[in-house]
Structure formats: C-alpha cells, structure tokens
Symmetry: C2
Subunit: 444 residues, 2 copies
C-alpha cells in the first residue's frame, strides 16, 4: 500500500509533540519499549507477529500535505509543529523480537531509540499492529501445535475487519497454518490460498448431484466437496459415484464432528475411496482440534476463534518511555509509579536461557546492560532499523520456520491447554533488576 500511515495515530501524540517542541524536550534522546505486563489468563506463551507489517508502516509513516492540512485545519498542531511534521523521517534505531518468536511477560518485544519526538509519534500504529497480529498468532500456534501434522486452513476473514482479516491470515501462517482463504493476503504476502465451495453453491443447483458435477467439471476430481447441505451419507455416495476413488476430500461443516468423521471415513473406505481426505470446519478452536486428535480427520479449517485470538483478541502490549536524556545529556531510567500498572525503567536486552540440551528455561532480561550468554542462550533482540534504515525484514516462510524452530525449544508442557503459568519464568538481571515484578519461580 502506498497510503500514508501517519494519521493512524492518537491525537495526543501530536499535542505532546507540539508541547515538547515548544519547550525543547522534543530532542531528548529516549528509549521506548513495547512489552506485555502479562500473558492472557492461563496462556503458557505468546507469539510475536506483525514485525514486518510494522516495518512497512514505518516506511509509510510520512505526513503528506493532506494530513498536515487536516491537522492544521482542525487546530491539532501549530505552524512550527506542521513544519516539523512535513520533514518527519524516523532516523533512530529499533531492535526487536522476530516474527514467529515466542514472548513472555516483560519480554522487550520492541526497543525504539531516538529523540522523544520521533519515537512518541509511532506509539499508536506500532501497538495496533503488534497487539492485533500477535494475538492472532498466539492463538494460531496452539492450534497448529495440537493439529500435529494435519494442515490448518485459515478461513476467518468474514468474522473480522476486512483489513484485519488480511493481517490475520499472515499471522496464522507465521504460526504454522498451511493456507488461507483470503485472496488479498495471498497476493500481498505470497502465502498459499485455498477454497472450493459453500452451501450456497449446492443450494443454487436443482440437485446436489448437479452441484457436485459442476464443481468437479470446473475444479477436477482432486477438489473438496461439501457434503452436509442435506444428508451426509447420501452426499458422500453421490460424490464418490461422480468422481470414483480419486475424490480429493470431503468437507464437514456441522454436526457432531468426532462421530460424523468416523462414519464418513468408514463410508469412504467401504466405497474404495481410502485416499479421500476429511476436512472439518465448524467453529473450531484449539480445544476442539485437540479433542479431534483421535478422529479420522485430515485437516482443520479455522475461522472465528482464530481471528478473535480465541478469547483474547488483543495482546496487552504497551509502549512505554523507559529511559531519556536528562539536562546533562545522561540517559536516565524512568517509570510511572503505580500499584496496578507496573513498568521497569531502563533499557532492556533479552536472552532465551537454554539448557545444554537446548530446552528453554528462562526469559533473561538485562536492565541497563546486556546479560551474559552462558553458551547455550539465544539472543532475542534483532536489529530492525538502524539510523532510520530498515534492515530487519524477513519473509513469511522464514518467520514460519523460525516459529516452529523456537516453539520446539519450549518445555513440552508449554502445549498444555489447561490454564497455568508461563512456560518459563522471566528473570531480570543488571541494574534495576530488583524492581522485578515477575517473581522468579522454579519449574520442575
């Protein structure tokens, strides 16, 4: 998209800019960090997605004439601020977790270093992208983990905002989904799309046989026929009668799926269609996918629960000023004092502490200084932007591969769907580590 992203921003970012330009603090060197104070209730881990979209948004973050005219007309900014905005280019450094990386409470998912003015403007759009995409990826990863080798198909576009749908398809792919139904996601990100027919196609025709014949004529015998518009057993008979045993798959979109899948498998086998797969798609989530593990199912289509983060449609990421230059030019850690909203001042570094066997055992966060790698650890912050230049892009395929690799590092119980603690504890080291709000716990 060539559209400016600059107005995807909260009004107060502009008023803060104007006041800081007037009093001279706008140029103070600052560190903002993006992190989650906690995981959604009971989740064992979170998955980062949206980093590449965020870099695209940063590239398009320019105040064009139309944006500035709007801000000036509305009285949001004065002339000095308008002039500053017209020349806005982010010139600082950003490091962050990669798309597909796992995160935990306190993980410094993004570290933004620049002047206050340059960084504060990016707050809203950075949070929007990472809060949305990571919520979807976090849910998607639980689904693909439980689906095992069976492919998961993303088909939730209709249940979320039309552009959120495109982003959701990418987030799901990063977390291991095989395909999406969303054509714009397929075009924009180059990921695979798939789809065959809905009930309306069967209802459009005078008979189910007419509909199946038409679909097979158009798409070939390897297509997937939807067999639950009228009577499933009759539809399966009709389908195999038309295609013979070459039929690619049948799809079930209603009913008691575990027992229905068993019946359909038996019927298909009895008709000689032993290679015809069974795809199920009725309001699935990670719990139903787990429950269907023993059933003869060959693929899962997931919609609503995926694009709504399976109960947690946003990640709770916040973007906080953690350090800024003082009058003498020193970088000073800062944090709001609050009983219910905890932040730790000071710039962070992060390692995934691993055993010699490569199993993750802690999220090690250095405050004010880089923690020491004990030889088996993995660096989590990657350079994304250096002096305003984007350096950290990855492809969707790389992000998916990264996710599957780092998920494998987690202790096995991280896949549990029951509610519990994060799979590994967050541990702070270095200056200000004593502020640690996430008391380290021991895991057996």
């Amino acid at each position: 998209m060539n559209t400016s992203t600059a107005l995807l921003t909260d009004h107060y970012e502009l008023t803060m800019l104007q006041a800081s330009l007037a009093d001279g603090t706008a140029q103070r060197r600052s560190v903002f960090e993006l992190f989650a104070r906690r995981l959604p209730d009971g989740r064992r881990y979170g998955v980062v997605a949206g980093v590449n979209r965020l870099l695209d948004a940063l590239e398009q973050f320019r105040f064009d004439e139309r944006a500035i005219a709007f801000l000036a007309d509305r009285g949001v900014v004065d002339q000095v601020t308008s002039d500053w905005l017209a020349n806005y280019r982010f010139s600082g450094d950003i490091s962050g977790y990669a798309d597909g990386e796992i995160f935990f409470p306190g993980s410094p998912v993004l570290v933004v270093e620049s002047s206050f003015a340059e960084a504060v403007l990016l707050e809203t759009v950075f949070l929007s992208i990472l809060n949305h995409d990571s919520a979807v990826a976090s849910a998607a990863s639980r689904m693909t983990w439980w689906a095992g080798g069976r492919p998961c198909i993303e088909m939730g576009s209709r249940r979320t905002h039309e552009e959120a749908a495109v982003a959701s398809a990418l987030a799901a792919y990063i977390a291991g989904f095989a395909t999406t139904s969303n054509l714009e996601a397929a075009r924009r990100f180059g990921i695979p799309s798939a789809g065959t027919a809905a009930h309306s196609f069967t209802l459009l025709h005078d008979t189910e046989r007419d509909a199946f014949t038409s679909q097979v004529d158009a798409l070939g015998k390897r297509t997937t026929l939807l067999v639950d518009t009228y009577d499933v057993a009759e539809a399966v008979r009709t389908a195999i009668d038309i295609t013979g045993p070459e039929l690619g798959a049948v799809r079930l979109d209603s009913g008691d799926l575990p027992s229905l899948a068993g019946q359909v498998r038996e019927q298909l086998d009895s008709l000689g269609a032993t290679k015809t797969r069974i795809i199920v798609t009725s309001d699935l989530d990670e719990f139903q996918i787990a429950a269907l593990a023993p059933a003869p199912v060959d693929g899962y289509g997931v919609g609503t629960s995926l694009v709504t983060g399976s109960g947690y449609p946003t990640c709770g990421f916040v973007y906080k000023l953690v350090a800024r230059e003082d009058a003498s030019g020193e970088l000073l850690p800062v944090a709001k004092k609050s009983v219910d909203k905890i932040s730790i001042g000071g710039r962070k570094w992060a390692l995934r502490r691993r055993t010699t066997a490569g199993v993750a055992e802690a999220e090690l966060i250095g405050v004010g200084s880089r923690p020491e790698d004990d030889g088996d650890d993995r660096e989590l912050l990657r350079p994304l932007v250096k002096g305003g230049e984007i350096v950290g892009r990855t492809t969707p395929a790389e992000s998916q591969a990264h996710h599957l690799k780092v998920r494998d590092e987690l202790p096995r119980f991280a896949s549990q769907l029951s509610r519990g603690e994060p799979a590994i504890p967050t541990q702070y080291v270095g200056d200000y580590a004593a502020q640690n709000p996430f008391a380290p716990r021991s895991h057996t």
Copy 2:
C-alpha cells in the same frame, strides 16, 4: 480510499463463480441475506454499524488488472472467469438496516438481490465489515446508555488492528460516543477527535511541574492534565497552582477510580477548582461505567473493551442464499438442512412492531411477503442500492441521531447489563413462518 476491495474475498467465492459460469447457473436470480442467528450470550440487543463503509467497499469492488493477473497466475480462475471479472459491476438491489439501527436474532440486516454470480462475490467483504463494526457498536451502545449525559471518549486504537481502529472509532461514534483519539477516523469520517498527554510526557520532563507548565503553555488552561504519574494529590495541587481554577480537567488512569474520583473532587473543590472536570480512563467497560455512575466523574475514556466488543469481537452475522430462480424462472426459497445451523428460506421483510405509545414490542419478519404495518410500526429495510446505484448513504451524525432515537423505543429493561433474553421477540409471519426457530415469547 481508492484501493480495490475485490480481493478482500475468500478464495471459494471465485471457484464457485467459475463453476457456475461454466454450468450456466451463475445468472440465476438470487436473494442473499445477512443476519445473526442469535445475539452474543445474554445481550439484549445489537446495533448495526458499517453500512456506509460497506457501500464504499461496494463502490471499490472492481477487479483491476493487478487483481486479475494475480488470480490467473495462481490458477484460481480460468480465462472465461477472468473476462467476466474484468467487467464486474454489481447491478442489483440491496436493502438493509440503517447504521445505528437496532437488530435482533433473525433480523434481515441486509437483503441482496441480483444474479448468483454478482452477489456471491460480495459475501466475505460484506460480512467482514458488518461483523466487525456492529460488534463494536453493540458494545459501545451499552456504554453510552450507562454513561448517561457524561461524554464517552473512544481511545482503543492501540488495542486493535490499525484499520479496524479507524472503523471502531466510527462505530463508537454511531453508538453515541462523543469523540475519538484516532486522527485518521477524524479525517476520514469528519468526527471529532481529542487528546492531550500520556505518562511519557510527564516522564520526559525533569519534574511534573515542568511537564504541566509545558502542556498548559502549548494547549491552554482548558486542557486535561494527567495526574497519576507519581502522587495524585500532589499532582492536583501542582496543576491548580499552575492554572488556577480555570483548569479544564484532570485525568485518572489507574487506581480505585470510585474512591479516587471522590478524593480528587474534594481536593479540586477545596482549591476552588469547582468547574474542573474529572475524566477516568483505566480499562473501562460498560460494567465499570455503570459502577461509576454515583462517582463524581465527568467523562469516560474507553479503549480495549470497546474495540474488542466487550467480550464479543464479532457479531455472528452470516450471509446465506435464501431464494434463487429455478429452471422455470420462478424464485424458490432455499435453506440448508441442519440441526445446529438454522436458516429460513425465502426473502424477508422487517418491521419494528411498536405499541401506540411507541415502545418496541416485536421484530416482525415477513417471509416471502411484506408484513402489514398496524399503524405504529416502523419499516426497517431501507433502499441502499438500486440497479447498482448507491442510494442509501447517511452521515455519521445522522447515524448517531438515528441510533439514539431508536434505542429510546426499546423497553427500559433493554439497558440491563445482566444476562438475559433479547429485549423483544422475533416473530415470523407469512409463508414459511412455521420454520421459525426463535420461538415467540411473551414479555410482561
């Protein structure tokens, strides 16, 4: 936006198109309807939003060269289908509920009449828009109802996809919100935006006094000062010391808001700042807004719970073929046979049945024929598109006024936040009414 919306579509809409073009059923006259089988668990009513955005999306629903090249390259469509897509213009009729209208289970929120081919392609993007925007508006309406005369400020952009944020701001405005923090929504839809400062602005400065002084210098004494970065009582003293009693408002973003608001009100009054308002903004939802009704609060800022539909981020709208031409040219009602996913075949009409006092008492849905107005009823379906021409646009201000007016028709208990039945029953009349899955209940 001048971007094509044509690929915001599920892959299978295109494969169905191709098969139906090949077998000749593509041109069958069809009626698709968009409706919800139920309201989210316990909700008393839903609010339609997204209709105007949907009309914009329809206007941009064109398969440009880039889209067709992508579809052909990927093998999604053949040459015949590509040629058909290149000339695609929706030429049918659409009627629907207005933005701001109330809906109930089974309400025919959108009725699309055209050839099968023209209507089936619109399924995904229509559902995306209405499912998202109406979920937000439905939550927002409960908030504004309980806020009473106190303004609600939409500030959830950072907790949802960056474009969903823009749509959420409009949906909230339709449901009675006063302002949004989202600048792009303000620009695109002409709705009011507002914002002053975050904690980072206070932390940027050497002292809280420096920060307040800077903000007042930039924005004037009528601004809102955020007083909970360090110690609230001290911040309030500092604020009034700087501005005197003219200070516009203070904002509280943490702590036990009912008691804190009381303390701050007393302190402001004792300092002579009796007109200074108190705005609260900490993770509010409709339940907390209701709980704060007795507290001396003057405005509510709502973020996460608004943009995520307060527990229900999607509306459950579906888009179903309910009637289509048969081989003899007659329009035939159709519906999937299913125990768990009920649809009623046949084209629908809808009236809000009202008492002579103007109180809503039933959602009257005519199946196959228009129900008779008893004199006090209100027509719910409005012409939106006629022969492909968009005729039904409304402004955000009109939509908000419409919402507040029709919400007033509901029986008073519709505002209850406890879980319960829809505020009025859905009643079917005419042909096929016997299929009614929503058993009429009597209300006292």
